[in-house]
């Protein structure tokens, strides 16, 4: 049945080359942990991607209950965690995943660094990777405010003070991020929410797309 549906579509739009191009390629021996166990270090990029998928999925589901409003944010989080079935698990995935993704990203970066995989011709992909790293940190930072508890509030106050410390544009930056020159409040929360769920993920998808296209074009770097 499935095969027939596939054939029917393939017959008309020839999709086989599309997915072959993405999925069907050889894993070189030096990257395969079955040959050299130490090759597990090549897994960290994929693991980063895996945890990123978890973050995106669990985040999408959390948004079904969460409201970015100072009156209700904390209560909605409390509600989804204590009253909704599996709320604790879904929130837990997003909470812990946010840390795990940074750890994986860091290990992946270490591998690329110590293997010298960033060298010509892959310098551009290193730069894209660094941008991905900063996007991830920004996601962690903006997400931290969203539960609107004490920790979130005071951490954000500190964040905004740091932003204010930038020479010349500091005050403008603080208002831009926080929505107000003084108050950490209603507009700060809505802005951080928009940045966390729309702007940064959009940038992340774009950069990850570029990252992966470049890997396919250049191939994985050779053995040491």
């Amino acid at each position: 049945m499935l095969q027939k549906v596939y054939d029917w579509i393939d017959d008309r739009v020839d999709i086989t080359p599309l997915w072959r191009d993405i999925a069907d390629h050889e894993v070189p021996e030096h990257v395969n942990p079955a040959h050299h166990f130490s090759a597990f270090v090549y897994c960290f990029g994929g693991l980063t991607f895996f945890v990123t998928v978890i973050q995106i999925l669990s985040g999408m589901f959390l948004t079904m209950y969460y409201v970015p409003d100072i009156e209700n944010a904390w209560r909605s989080v409390y509600y989804l965690q204590t009253e909704v079935a599996h709320g604790q698990i879904v929130r837990g995935m997003h909470h812990w995943g946010a840390s795990v993704v940074i750890v994986m990203l860091f290990l992946h970066t270490l591998r690329v660094f110590f293997q010298g995989a960033y060298k010509k011709p892959r310098e551009l992909n290193w730069m894209v990777g660094v941008m991905i790293f900063f996007i991830m940190l920004a996601l962690g930072l903006t997400g931290y405010l969203l539960p609107w508890d004490n920790k979130a509030y005071f951490a954000t106050q500190v964040t905004l003070e740091i932003a204010e410390g930038v020479p010349f544009i500091g005050e403008a930056t603080k208002s831009l991020l926080g929505g107000d020159p003084e108050i950490v409040g209603a507009q700060t929360l809505t802005r951080f929410f928009a940045i966390h769920v729309f702007f940064l993920p959009a940038a992340l998808f774009l950069l990850m797309g570029i990252h992966f296209i470049m890997i396919r074009k250049q191939g994985i770097s050779g053995p040491l």
């Binding site: 589901f61 909605s76 509600y79 599996h86 709320g87 698990i89």
Partner: protein
């Protein structure tokens, strides 16, 4: 099952194990999220308490509109919401409390809302009509009778609960 051994190629074996393990991981990841998302469908609905709405001696044989408020718990938001009913006494002295929510698409009906049909409930949205007992007038948009409130009389006071479709009494 044939007695013959079916040789499984290395490629097949790998395909099966990888699909199996991958499917297991995907399911483990998605199951909590899906259960989380469908929770509202599975939550038991809380049966509303009866609330005092009117004095029985205020009631006539003419439908009158009564409003009352209930405390509504909407997840993390609690508020008071107003409910309304059309209440009257039938010819054999029984109390009838009709929901004003039109059974077509949920607008609010009015007693005698249409001058052309003075002894009927009228829904302005698509000209739906109901007889005094709440039964829908044939060939108007609604296809069911107005819901009826559960009611109780205690010491001369009328208490109303939830509105229910006719079949459920």
């Amino acid at each position: 099952m044939s007695g013959k051994k079916q040789p499984v190629s290395r490629r097949q074996f790998l395909n099966y194990t990888l699909t199996g393990v991958g499917g297991f991981m995907a399911a483990g990841m998605l199951a909590p999220m899906v259960r989380f998302a469908i929770d509202p469908v599975l939550q038991a609905s809380s049966g509303g308490d009866l609330k005092a709405v009117a004095q029985v001696d205020e009631l006539t044989t003419e439908p009158q509109r009564f409003d009352w408020t209930i405390d509504q718990v909407d997840a993390w938001y609690e508020s008071e919401v107003t409910k309304s009913a059309w209440v009257y006494k039938t010819d054999n002295d029984e109390i009838m409390a009709l929901s004003p929510v039109c059974k077509h698409l949920g607008c609010v009906v009015n007693w005698q809302g249409d001058p052309d049909h003075p002894e009927q409930f009228f829904c302005p949205c698509h000209d739906g009509r109901y007889y005094k007992d709440g039964v829908n007038v044939p060939n108007t948009p609604p296809n069911a009778a107005l819901d009826v409130f559960e009611h109780e009389v205690r010491e001369g006071t009328l208490y109303l609960g939830n509105a229910k479709p006719r079949g459920e009494f």
